[in-house]
Symmetry: C2
């Protein structure tokens, strides 16, 4: 496996991103959607923020006022036995999530060389209504015609759903409806139609029966989706044995649709692998990585907000080389280049 | 509340339904979709079957061969510590469902008076492929034009999804695609378009965040669905405090869309209630039952395969009276009549 991590990694660190308001700190700038816009490489970063430290006996949590869209900081007394604070990412009450300790928005970063990025000062998309009151996470960007469609996780007290937005210039964004109800994540639309239909990968998380695995759906118009089919599942005992989901937007190659996906094992170690889908029927798996194409081995991948994670939401093909951007340790953004032939060698 | 249970209840008992094969016994004939076809009232029953007793030291479970669609009986040794047999409905292994102890299909019953039904000898729809290998459950029947669209739970090892089928005569049925991925149940399509769009109620079951609550979606063509919105939620401490979902296909009244839905409390006691939705925007709740319209109080509702359950999948409006068919105790089919005005009085 000839994988070349950029020497400049991580390309974007949390200190590179100004918080959206003075009483917030940025705790993650990761899992970015990727697009080519003219000469520029665009990263649409997921930026996670937390309220700056509150008094020792309180936990500050961000809460969107669903009526007027304003963001409030609520202070919870740590002595309150009603709340369970053991997981640093969430606050629970009676076993259910009642607050997240951070809230994510989307932020644009631009680059001429794909290596040195300028992060914009202001959010591109900030949680705006009840359907995404707990945050906007893990965008995937798909170019279709002269527009870019963004699938993202819309998180609220009602669950994690898949929502759509669209932009032409990464300056103005238009929100579209929720396209998949909870619980669903890791949705990525294929670039353009195949046999007259749009296709999307998605990853439902069922409760009673089934596992977090990859499905595929079809649409006539990008808004309404149907013909959901199970695409590929977990391989117990393997690096993708416990959870998995789509990663980058599928890339068209001579051999088929190349999908870079993530998988995790029972230790929550997230790796990236690849699957090749049939060019005319992307619901058909042609080949799949036996071993990962990228494992969390570099220092910034092994250690961070949530160590041992590499997680890609977007990649670009240059000739026969894949330039894969990815979140490292749920904190920073990195990039690696992989020749297509080496990816195919994992099949 | 003037609710009149039919004196003939239960209208259909398990002994009224011939099994689909000689080595099976019928354990449930319940949760029927309802339609008016000419002079006839049609019930599309969910019929649950189990293999007839096997040797004392074994449990017989039905398994669909996903390759050729044939049904096999597998015998599991009860002494095998790998399997967990404590729940009579399922067999678990490592905490996951690996087999159901019964398998459901759909069966037509016909009546001239809506009371005395003739149950057909053969299944109308039997599990046919991998997407429904564990069974077909809880159909809702929606008349649109001169066709009847059936939403049902397609159960497989991949989860519980919502699938569509269509018929003109309840003799020949055409399967359509899966319209909602797992985990989702209790889907019911509105009869006809509203403002040019089709609408469907559905009930996702998210895992990490959220609860089993009612959502609404839109479609241009009945196959592809989008603009999913949360419609109504649980009322902790109430009769619909722990789980809920759509019941009957929505009924058009002068006051709005009347939806008869089910709710359960922490004791798994299932009642029926009602909600009134805006005629032009069915995503808008106008009123909702404070108290149930039907509680499991009759003997055949309180006792049975799973006692304490009334669960409707279909109702017909006759003048200002609702004729609600419903599953009783997850075993038989019953019917009750309720004046609209009395339902409204629960709001």
């Amino acid at each position: 496996m000839t994988i070349v991590r950029f020497a400049e990694n991580p390309l974007i660190r949390i200190d590179d991103v100004p918080p959206s308001r003075p009483d917030f700190k940025v705790v993650g700038a990761f899992n970015a959607g990727v697009a080519q816009l003219g000469e520029e490489t665009i990263l649409l970063l997921r930026v996670a923020e937390m309220p700056i430290e509150s008094p020792d006996d309180q936990l500050a949590v961000p809460v969107l006022n669903e009526r007027d869209g304003s963001l409030e900081i609520r202070h919870l007394p740590l002595s309150d036995a009603e709340y369970d604070y053991t997981d640093p990412r969430v606050v629970k009450k009676l076993g259910s999530f009642v607050y997240l300790t951070s809230i994510s928005h989307l932020r644009v970063a631009r680059s001429r060389d794909g290596v040195r990025f300028r992060v914009e000062d202001r959010p591109a998309m900030f949680p705006a209504d009840a359907a995404e009151a707990w945050g906007i996470e893990d965008p995937r960007v798909t170019p279709i015609g002269d527009r870019y469609y963004i699938t993202y996780s819309a998180v609220s007290s009602k669950g994690v759903a898949v929502r759509l937005a669209v932009t032409e210039d990464f300056a103005a964004f238009e929100r579209l409806p929720v396209v998949l109800p909870p619980e669903n994540k890791d949705a990525a639309i294929f670039p353009g139609t195949i046999g007259g239909k749009y296709y999307m990968l998605h990853r439902p998380v069922p409760r009673a029966i089934g596992a977090p695995e990859m499905w595929i759906a079809e649409s006539p118009d990008l808004i309404h989706w149907g013909n959901h089919r199970h695409l590929m599942g977990l391989r117990p005992g393997s690096w993708d044995g416990v959870r998995m989901g789509g990663g980058a937007v599928p890339i068209e190659t001579g051999e088929g649709w190349l999908e870079l996906y993530h998988g995790a094992d029972s230790t929550d170690r997230y790796c990236m692998g690849a699957v090749l889908l049939d060019k005319r029927d992307p619901g058909k798996v042609l080949a799949r990585s036996r071993v990962p194409i990228l494992e969390p081995e570099a220092e910034y991948e092994a250690n961070g907000f949530f160590g041992g994670v590499v997680f890609s939401c977007g990649a670009l093909l240059r000739g026969r080389t894949v330039r894969m951007y990815y979140g490292a340790a749920d904190e920073t953004t990195a990039c690696a280049e992989l020749p297509l032939e080496d990816i195919y060698r994992t099949f």
